[in-house]
Each structure stands twice: as structure tokens, then as C-alpha cells.
């Protein structure tokens, strides 16, 4: 194994293990903390793939934005952090079978597929991403601003104080 392989396994393990903690932790706050490591693990994997822009964006948006929002929600909600979230009826058996089945199908498909590859070393991606945003994906890029505006309006409408409604 090369050094990169070791690093891959470190990040992959971190991602999967902390992801499991997110799902199985008994208290919501620990799930939120574990999610931090999941996000970091994924960012690490992006770096390994040479996707530097994506990795930095992942940190910025998921760790620096979304997760902080989650933590805010957890911390500010009265007594939510002691809350036991798991339901009585977990249906562990059927769940496991379905999950395992889906995993086998996907893993199998991933293994037998002849993936189209570029066949060159990873290069800095920032410029290329910028070019795609303003070229091939211009429409999606611009439409995303409408999307954000809609989300803002919707959020503002839902949280508005009752007396102005």
C-alpha cells in the first residue's frame, strides 16, 4: 500500500465509524458531534481525490454552516439533548435485510462497472469548476439563486411572529 492508501483508509474509517455513531448514538447531541467527524472524513476523501475546491467548500458549508445550525437547534431546544430519539419499534431484522440487500446490489454494481476515467493526474479544479459554472452549467448555477431566494422567503414566512400574520 502506498501512503495515499493508508490515508484513504484513515479517512474512510473515520467517515464510516462516525457515520455509524450519528445513527446509533442515544442522545441527539452526540449524533451532532459525530456528524462533524463524518463531514471531515468526507472532506479528507475529496482532498485525496484531488478535489481541493470541493473539500474546502465541504468544510465551509457543511461543517461551518449546516452543522453549526444543527448544534444551535439542539442546544436551544429545551431538553432535546437528553431526548431518546429511537423509537420502540425498531424493526431491526427487516431493516438489516433491506439495507444489506441494497448494499450488496450497489457494491456489486460498483465493482463490475467499467468506470469511464480521465486517465490523468488530478489537477487543480478551481478554474475548471468556475468555467463549468459559467459555461455548461450556467442555467443551473443561476437558477440556484432563485432556489435560495425561495428558501429565504419560505423560511421568513414560516418563522414570522404570529401577530403580523
Amino acid at each position: 500500500m502506498t501512503a495515499a492508501d493508508y490515508v484513504f483508509w484513515v479517512f474512510a474509517t473515520a467517515t464510516v465509524v462516525s457515520g455509524a455513531v450519528v445513527v446509533f448514538a442515544r442522545s441527539l447531541i452526540y449524533s451532532a458531534f459525530a456528524l462533524l467527524f463524518t463531514f471531515f472524513g468526507v472532506a479528507g476523501l475529496y482532498v485525496l481525490l484531488g478535489a481541493d475546491f470541493l473539500a474546502a467548500t465541504q468544510l465551509l458549508i457543511y461543517v461551518g454552516g449546516i452543522l453549526v445550525l444543527l448544534l444551535f437547534g439542539v442546544m436551544l431546544t429545551h431538553r432535546i439533548y437528553d431526548l431518546k430519539l429511537r423509537t420502540e419499534k425498531t424493526q431491526l431484522g427487516p431493516g438489516l435485510i433491506v439495507a444489506a440487500g441494497i448494499f450488496i446490489i450497489f457494491a456489486n454494481a460498483a465493482l463490475i462497472t467499467e468506470w469511464p476515467t480521465v486517465g490523468r493526474e488530478p489537477a487543480p479544479t478551481t478554474k475548471e469548476i468556475g468555467r463549468l459554472f459559467l459555461g455548461e452549467y450556467l442555467l443551473a448555477f443561476e437558477a440556484a439563486s432563485v432556489l435560495l431566494l425561495v428558501a429565504l422567503i419560505g423560511a421568513a414566512m414560516i418563522v414570522r411572529r404570529k401577530k403580523d400574520a
Partner: protein, 483 residues
Amino acid sequence: MSGELDLRPLVPAIIVGVTGLVVLLAQAFTPKDRRAPSAPLSLTGLLAALAAVWLLASGGGRGAVLANAVSADAYSLFFQALLLGIAAVAVLLSPSYLRANGLDRGEYYALLLFSVVGMLGLVSSLELVSMFVALEIMSIALYGMAGLYRSRMESQEAALKYFVTGAFSSAFFLYGVALLYGVSGSTSLDRLEWAVSTLTTDSAALALLGAGMLLVGFGFKIASVPFHMWAPDVYEGAPTPATALMSAGVKAAAFGALLRVFGSALHALAGEWQPLVASLAVITMVVGNLAALAQGNLKRMLAFSSVAHAGYVLTALVASPGQAGEAVLFYLVVYGAVNLGAFGTIAALSREGREPLSLGDVAGMAERRPALAAALAVFLVSLTGIPVTAGFVGKFYLFNAAVTAGWVGLALVGVLMSVVSAYYYLRVVVAMYMRDPLGEDTWARVSPSATVALALSAVITLVLGIYPAPVLTLARIAARSLL
């Protein structure tokens, strides 16, 4: 890229979006003691966009522009006209309902218009990322609309449920997009079509998984079983005009995109996904209709009926794209008019936070409100699919498509389930015409704008039942541009 920045195919969507902004600003700059002219503005914008669609269509449509991301081909234009029409009727239904329930705010119209922007984008994108963004614009605006009625538990539940299941389904959709990108190295439908048609058997597995994920994502939006659980609660909790838009508009837009992706880009895999779609259609029809039987609440009954109708539409997808397209497009027009009418009748009677939701509420309506009862009867009979109504013609083409493709059993299930559905639709008609009214008539007088909306829906329903040829021809032309 530079030099060919042709925005013409986007003009209808841009008009609607700008109208949304104008409505917001008008609300902000209207003095507190006055009412902002949100509904007239919205209606004007939608009609202007409709005119733009007309101009584009008479100009022969437009090919793909913006790096093949969007097109104004006949297929897009057909759907855009349909969606704009649906939205205009929903706007006509809204003012009286919102006033009756103390919800009259400009944001509602802005969100409505933005959701229409999303729908327009959804049916005209030729590229999966743009399609996803459009899908999200539509969905997020609708989450907000579902939660508009904040003082009601049901509305909050609706917004939350819709949001959570919607986000869940978006994940499926995105995963599908990612897998298909893995197959083709591109998100453009053209390239995808080419890549899928040249696949080796090994890579086909990946493409199929991607297609499956996309199908799940669309399944949530069209509310097909087993992805329908949100529909009854959301339809019940949302403000009724918003429900009308959801049931008619979202379904049409989602089917528009679904048909474009599966009927043309993934057509090479049809042998693999068609059985899947067929089984989805069967369980959707069976579960939707049986569940609708058990509903006492009219809105929930119509919600399950909308689930069932997703199943009917799915049956046609097993046919060749041209034939399926024609049948689906025609049916979506019929379904849009009928559903707007049915939900619209409920909305139009709403008064002081109440609306007629039980059979008792509509009992004897034929005596007191003969015209309204007649209209609702037309809508319900059409939903059942009794001959000489639009619903019959629509279902005939859907099932005919399935039979032509050799799926006779599928069509039989559809016919059988239509018979079952007669029970719960006609139960309402019976209550209106055969039972005596209970108590006083406390419902609202139908406002002029709602009258226009309901009359329009009823006339379209009747005309399509008797003389469907022009719309069928248009549907055929539109479907042909899909090939």
C-alpha cells in the same frame, strides 16, 4: 459559449419569476391599511407568460440552448402552457379562500409563482442538474405554501412532512443523477441517451440503479405507492388552493420530466425499467383506490384519488414513447382541469376558517347551490372515468397505450380499479343530489374570481369529453418532439 446566449426558451419562466419579485415588492410598498394587488399582478404575469409560450410556439419553438440545458421544443411548450393555465386557475381560486381564512399575504402568491418557475424549468430542462435545481425550486416553494396556515396543526404537520419526505426523495434523485453521470460522464440527456445505448452489459447495472433511484425520486413527487405516504396529510393540511396546485401542477411537471428522462434518454433500457414501472402502477392503483374508499374527509379522499391517478398515468409508460407521450399529455390536461375543479369547489365554499370536508357538509347541495353541485358532479364523474366525460377519453388512451404495448393485464387492473373508484366518487354525488341538507347553509358565497375558475375547469372538462380531438392533436405533436 459566448455569442449564443439565447434566452428565448426561458422567457416564460423569467416572466413568472419577475412577477414573483414584483408581487413581493408590491407587498412591501403597500401601506399597512391597504391590500396589495397580489392576485391581479400574479394573474397578469401568468397570462403574459402564457402569451410568451404562444409566441414561442407560433415561432416554431426553439431548439436546445444554454449549453443544451434547456429547450423550448413542442413538448416543453405544451407542458408550459398547461402549467401556466393550472397556476392561473389556482390564483383565481386563492383570494377568496385566503381572505376567508385570514391568510391573505403577498408571500403566498410569490411562492406560488416561484413554484411555477420550478415547474416550467422541470419540464423544459434537457440536463439533469438543471432539472434537479428546478425540482427543488418547485418543491421548496410548495413546502412554504403547505405551511402557510400556521395557526393550524394540520398545516404545520403538512409542511414538515412534505419537507422531510421531499428532502428524502431529493436525495434519491441526486443519487440517481450521480450514478447516471458515472455511466455517461455527463449530465446532459442527449449524452446520456447515447451512453446508455452503447452500454456493455456490465455497466448496464449501474445505469439501471441510477434509473431506479431517479424513479424513486420522481415517485415521491407524483405520489405513487409506496412513496405516497405524505400525500394525504399534505393535501389535507395545506391551504386548499395550494393543494389544488400541488395535485394538478406538481403531478404534471413531475410526469413531464419523468417521461422525458425515461421515455427518451433511458429508452434503451426500457426492457428493464418497464416491468418496474408496471408493478409501481399496479400497486399505486390498488392501494390508492382502496385507501380512498375508507376516507371520510373529502380532501383526504381526493388525495388518495390523486395517488390512484398517478397509477393510471404510469400504466401508459410501458408503451412506446410516442404513444405514451400522447396519452399522458392528454390525461394530464384532463386531470389538471378536473382536480382544480374538485379542490376549487371546496376552497370556494370556505368561510371563517371552515370548509366542507365531510359528506354531511355537501348533503343536499343540489337544492341550495345547483350550479356548484352540478360542477362538482361533473368533476367527480370525470375522475371516475364514465363515458362521455374527459376522464373516460383520457383513461381510454392511457389503457389503450398499455394494451398496444402488450400489457393487457395492466390495463385490466386499471379498468377494474376505475370501477372500484366509482363507489367513493359517486358517494359524494349521491349525497349532493339524494340526501337532505343538514342544518343551515353557512358556506360562503362563491366569489366572482372563483366562479370564473370553476366555470373554466368545468367547461374544459366537458369539452374534452365531447370533442377531445384538438388537444389530442397537440399532445401528439408535443410527444413527437420527444422522439
